[in-house]
């Protein structure tokens, strides 16, 4: 039942975006998000939309699949649109009904803000769609590495994240087993009121927690037995390396900054 759930959204592949270094992808996202908020007219938005679509093309994933990532947020986008249309005033009045008006500025803001949201979501899902969780963790660890100097345990946090990712399938299987065992004892998880169903989750959650703690303890012992002693003096098997792809990402970033800076009003 739970076995087919993918971890994150990662779709394995060999495209340009898949093979770019996670660090450059992460840095690019930060830059792109800033540019989205700097965009303030039709031309700059058009450039950003064009760029996002081109990036989507580069990922070699189907556009409809990428657009699916907007699904969880469309209510938020709709809400923003409605709010702006009704509340933001200014410019030509397009529509009037009693005290209620729809004005030029409102429509403009509604379109721009929903575009901002949409673009942000799309570009960050391109990251998670083309980067495996392990690479993402490693990229984050390396980017945040300097924070280690001011006492933030970056290595430990990254290791915790990668172990958590590694144990997701194991704990899923376990949940599946517990659900079956409790069902065999007559528990009912599929009917009754919402409160009743929520209460029924307790006999799943408790054994799961108990076993997770036991696993954690055993894992810690196994790690120690294999000579784990924290991040000091540790080497890594997969060293992230920048390639020509990351050079292209850097060049594209510079061009984007110049173009947006030039066209924005």
């Amino acid at each position: 039942m739970l076995q087919n759930i993918a971890i994150g959204q990662y779709v394995p592949g060999q495209s340009f975006l898949h093979r770019a270094d996670p660090r450059s992808k992460l840095l690019f996202i930060i830059l792109f998000a800033t540019l989205i908020f700097l965009a303030n007219n039709t031309v700059t938005y058009a450039i950003l939309i064009g760029f996002t679509l081109y990036a989507a093309l580069l990922s070699r994933l189907s556009l409809s699949y990428i657009l699916k990532s907007l699904k969880p947020v469309w209510i938020l986008i709709l809400f923003t649109v409605v709010l702006h249309i009704f509340i933001t005033k200014g410019g030509t009045v397009y529509f009037q009904w009693g005290w209620f008006t729809v004005e030029e500025e409102g429509v403009r803001q509604a379109i721009f803000i929903s575009l901002r949201l949409g673009l942000l979501i799309l570009i960050s899902s391109l990251l998670t769609l083309t980067t495996s969780p392990i690479d993402l963790t490693e990229g984050l660890e390396r980017l945040l590495g300097p924070l280690g100097k001011i006492g933030i345990p970056v290595h430990d946090i990254a290791l915790m994240m990668s172990i958590a990712l590694r144990f997701i399938p194991t704990l899923m299987e376990e949940t599946d087993k517990i659900i079956k065992a409790q069902t065999a004892r007559g528990a009912n998880f599929t009917s009754g009121s919402l409160v009743r169903r929520a209460k029924n989750l307790i006999p799943i959650a408790i054994p799961l927690f108990v076993s997770a703690f036991r696993r954690a303890e055993e894992l810690a012992l196994a790690m120690e037995a294999r000579g784990y002693r924290g991040g000091v003096g540790r080497t890594r098997l997969n060293k992230l390396t920048f390639t020509w792809r990351d050079g292209i990402v850097a060049v594209a970033s510079v061009i984007l900054v110049i173009v947006i800076g030039w066209w924005r009003t």
Partner: protein, 283 residues
């Protein structure tokens, strides 16, 4: 210090804190010597102290009394801790709870990363270790897609990559199906034979002990018996007294013996079959 004595426990004792604050002794006055390159089985009941003994050999626990020596290194010497852990690898009972990496390759690399091995050398050592356990075609596989026996083999590869001299299997076969158990045991015997590794197999399956050079029987924190499999399993009644079973062939021969049918002592089922056939033919 004799070079051949790879592992030595000298008058070792250890005490756990019980649930009601009482001190529960788990090991008392254990004296053991394990020869380099031997295959040793440790048999014993739950709570006989056999797992504690394993943890003492890898410096996961330190003895309260006595000393544990690994190739002459005292486990109490903090400076030698990492060297000892590299020398003595441990495979635990639950295959899921000892795999750290998200892929087979990452997991085998874990111990090497801890040791600070150069990434270029790491690649070679990982390949070598995976070949030695016959898992080389699973380099990129995710651990949860493997069978129990395969997971334990990956765990062994993770230790092999660190080039140890001893591998302790701490009930490593207890959670496996019969096929997985065979896989792991055959691998352990092969590593012992071909690579000259010392193997210490802690188990409660007497069948697993028949191929070993030496069998150690633990009971209530003490070494009850020590000897070759034939010596140990010959004392069926004494083993039964402490609630331990013997291999099938030994049990059957013992039962026949008490019915007045006399057969020579054997450990392996095939040998017993031969003897029984011979007896039937000569009658």
């Amino acid at each position: 210090m004799n070079e051949d004595n790879l592992l030595a426990l000298r008058d070792v004792s250890y005490t756990y804190d019980g649930e009601d604050g009482q001190r529960v002794p788990v090991l008392q006055g254990v004296d053991l010597t394990i020869q380099k390159g031997s295959f040793v089985s440790v048999l014993g009941h739950n709570g006989s102290g056999k797992s504690t003994m394993a943890k003492l050999m890898n410096a996961l626990l330190l003895p309260e009394g006595g000393t544990v020596l690994i190739s002459g290194m005292d486990t109490k010497d903090g400076e030698l801790l990492w060297e000892i852990r590299r020398h003595v690898g441990m495979v635990f009972q639950n295959p899921d709870n000892q795999i750290v990496g998200a892929t087979v390759e990452d997991d085998v690399a874990f111990g090497l990363e801890n040791m600070g091995v150069d990434p270029k050398e790491m690649r070679d050592r990982i390949d070598e270790a995976l070949v030695s356990v016959g898992m080389e075609s699973y380099l990129q596989a995710q651990p949860h897609r493997l069978s129990g026996g395969q997971k334990q083999r990956v765990a062994i590869a993770g230790i092999m990559a660190m080039r140890p001299s001893v591998i302790i299997l701490d009930e490593a076969t207890a959670m496996l199906d019969p096929q997985g158990r065979m896989e792991v045991l055959n691998l352990a015997r092969q590593l012992n034979r071909d690579e000259g590794l010392t193997i210490i197999n802690i188990t409660h399956f007497p069948e697993e002990a028949i191929y070993s050079d030496k069998v150690i029987v633990m009971n209530a924190g003490e070494v009850l018996m020590e000897g070759t499999p034939s010596e140990v399993f010959n004392e069926v009644d004494r083993l039964k007294q402490v609630g331990l079973d013997v291999p099938f062939a030994v049990r059957l021969r013992h039962a026949l013996h008490s019915k007045g049918i006399d057969l020579p002592f054997v450990l392996h089922q095939e040998e017993l079959v031969e003897h029984v056939c011979k007896l039937l033919l000569t009658k």
